[in-house]
Amino acid sequence: MKDNDVSLSRRSLLKGATAAAFMISAGAVINPLEAWGLEVKALKPETMQTLIQMARDIYPHDRIADRFYAVALKEYDTKSTSDAALKSLVEEGIAKLDQLAKEKHGTRYVDVGWESQRVAILREIEKEPLFQKVRSGLVVSLYNQKEVWPVFGYQGESAVYGGYLHRGFDDIDWL
């Protein structure tokens, strides 16, 4: 995946940002704390917001910022502009997720308070096409972003630096 966060339009920090991670405004998902917004063209902004939360609940990494999840999912919106089947798969799948959340907790999925409560909802839909598609795509589109590798310590390409022969291939010192 060649995309990175530059394609998410940077927004100036909104004054009075609340504790909520995301806001919806004029056709975009906005993350005031991280100062970015993702404009959606085909999907409802609320749908994109829920997708991002769902992605974080599938592969939760506390040290990875929301924008990396947003980048990983952006193609659902881009592709939905020309792919009606995908669009309805996403919209209907997310509607179902919200409906389950409402039945159990009386709120939208994104407003369910605890991760464990949201995960319990995801367990109910994990065999369904939307979940399968999001999870199997995300395992590549999230972890294949070079920008997230440093969070895990992974160093990426090495031949250009001459390998690790003189850069610590055997530097373990605690054994």
Binding site: V140, S158, G162, L175
Partner: protein, 522 residues
């Protein structure tokens, strides 16, 4: 200069595939003065084209044409159209391989005699012995520059190896080392020593690791007797009224078909494509496919009993630095039936980069149990298990009803573990975890087998034509000028990584083909 042969030149030997088997055979024949054409389905990417990035490299080199799966193996569920992780490119899977180069043990050539009649297993003794193969192992080790042979120094151990070695010794293992690797520990054969870059699976950008792409084929081409034709996907092998093969039909990049005539055809497309090609070549004389009077073509598919153990520690390991397969424990390699299974296994260090670790640690898993493991990626060490699996007639490559881009039926790979495989894997998971726990692992992960990297046995060698597809020279029992030159000839799989044996067999086969051609028998 590389040769260029005419499509109607029926004096050439045609080899299908340019990997460990085909690339070696073609080079060896060319060195003996025999005109040879290697037809390779994939493109030719040279060292400078290789990419230090797991998914990008996978897209560049891996075989991604359609395949289907069935059976109870987990790969059929997690990777339904990717039964094997192998290569479609000049050099074949020797571009991807890690370089571990081990000889079979003496008893592994006669498992039916030594292990006895194991229920559900189609064990058979090889028609050759270790003694017969030893001179060819020597030649193979010399040309591949295998460390700890021919006076070549072993490789230094990286971080992943140091953890592995300390753990192995802590639980009493003795046969622990950085192994026998076809990776230069120092400059040799015009190629540099290993720079410990850690991308052995993505094509070595230094050429330190042996591959037919740059360590064999150019030597064959320099004789003027070898032509390697990339983007030439062989669709079927043809024969005359007497039953002898006369050439092959292949599709080029644009999908145009060409007929290359041949005096001899050698099939080396790896153990899924080779039987597929023989089956797709069925004709009125050979209604069940070529070389298949025994009905064994495609059967006895083996993939080694594999699995991995990853472990997390409280401090960094950084296993991705340095050779991907950096060391080996051989203490479990013998046949010791008191462990509750026949045959043995090797433990070898292994590392995956973060993108592949996410995809392969526990395919399909999600949630915090999974992501907390990845959060500790920097503190992980890892090993791979490779053991002898039981050949079973029902583990099988057949033609699927699905078709590929050329309209040819694709391969379906059916696999179920044998109870012996399961017992051996459980033992290896325990031992591997114990090694890491002995040096302070806080968590261990018995990891399921990846899509197959070692694919073996689907055109097995046998003494009698009834039991197998080829004789002790890899020559078809049914058709004298048709050969099999890859790992599909293996009668049984042994506990060792297969490539050294594939190369030794190819060198031996080249001698035989040259002799038979010289005597005009073929």
């Amino acid at each position: 200069m590389a040769a260029k042969f005419d499509l109607n030149d029926d004096s050439v030997v045609v080899i299908v595939g340019s990997g460990a088997g085909g690339g070696t055979l073609g080079t060896e024949l060319a060195l003996k003065g025999i005109k040879t054409v290697i037809l390779e389905a994939g493109a030719r990417h040279e060292i400078e084209d290789f990419i230090n990035d797991e998914w990008d490299s996978f897209a560049q080199l891996a075989w991604a044409d359609m395949r289907t799966t069935s059976g109870s193996w987990r790969v059929a569920r997690d990777f339904a159209n990717l039964p094997a992780w192998i290569v479609k490119a000049v050099g074949g899977s020797t571009t991807h391989w890690a370089g571990a180069s081990l000889r079979f043990q003496e008893h592994e050539f006669r498992t039916r005699s030594v292990y006895g009649d194991i229920k559900g297993a189609n064990l058979l003794d090889w028609p050759i012995t270790l003694k017969e193969l030893e001179p060819y192992y020597e030649k193979a080790e010399f040309r591949m520059g295998v460390t700890r042979t021919n006076g070549i120094a072993g490789l230094p151990g990286n971080n992943n190896y140091k953890v592995f070695e300390k753990g192995a010794k802590a639980i009493g293992y003795q046969d622990v080392s950085t192994g026998r690797m076809a990776i230069n520990s120092d400059e040799r054969d015009g190629r540099p020593g290993c720079q410990q870059s850690g991308f052995c699976f993505q094509g070595c950008k230094f050429g330190a690791k042996w591959s037919t792409l740059y360590a064999e084929i150019p030597k064959g081409e320099a004789t003027g007797n070898l032509e390697v034709r990339p983007n030439a996907h062989v669709l079927r092998i043809e024969h005359d009224a007497s039953g002898k093969v006369t050439g092959v039909v292949y599709a080029d990049k644009e999908g145009n078909q060409h007929r290359q005539k041949a005096r001899v055809v050698a099939v080396a497309g790896n153990s899924i494509e080779s039987p597929r090609l023989l089956l797709n070549s069925a004709s009125s004389i050979y209604p069940d496919g070529l070389a298949n009077s025994s009905g064994q073509v495609g059967r006895n598919y083996m993939r080694h009993m594999t699995g991995s153990v990853y472990a997390v520690f409280d401090r960094p390991v950084r296993m991705w630095r340095g050779t991907t397969m950096a060391g080996i424990v051989r203490d479990e390699a013998d046949h010791k039936p008191d462990r509750g299974f026949v045959g043995g296994y090797e433990l070898e260090t292994l590392s995956l980069g973060l993108p592949f670790m996410a995809a392969f640690l526990d395919p399909g898993a999600w949630g915090r149990e999974f992501t907390s493991a990845l959060d500790s990626y920097e503190n992980m060490a890892g090993l791979w298990i490779v053991g002898e699996d039981m050949p079973q007639e029902s583990n099988r490559v057949t033609l699927s009803s699905e078709k590929d881009q050329f309209g040819m039926r694709v391969a379906n790979v059916h696999f179920d573990d044998h109870p012996n495989d399961i017992a051996m894997r459980a033992h290896a998971y325990r031992q591997g975890s114990a090694m890491y726990e002995a040096v302070g692992a806080t968590r261990t992960f018995p990891t399921t087998p990846y899509p197959s990297t070692h694919n073996l046995g689907t055109n097995r060698m046998s003494e009698t034509p009834r039991d197998g597809v080829v004789n002790k020279w890899g020559q078809s029992h049914d058709i004298p000028n048709l050969f099999v030159s890859d790992g599909s000839q293996f009668t049984t799989g042994g506990a060792e990584n297969p490539t050294l044996t594939i190369v030794a067999l190819a060198i031996r086969q080249a001698e035989y083909i040259a002799g038979q051609m010289g005597q005009k028998v073929i």
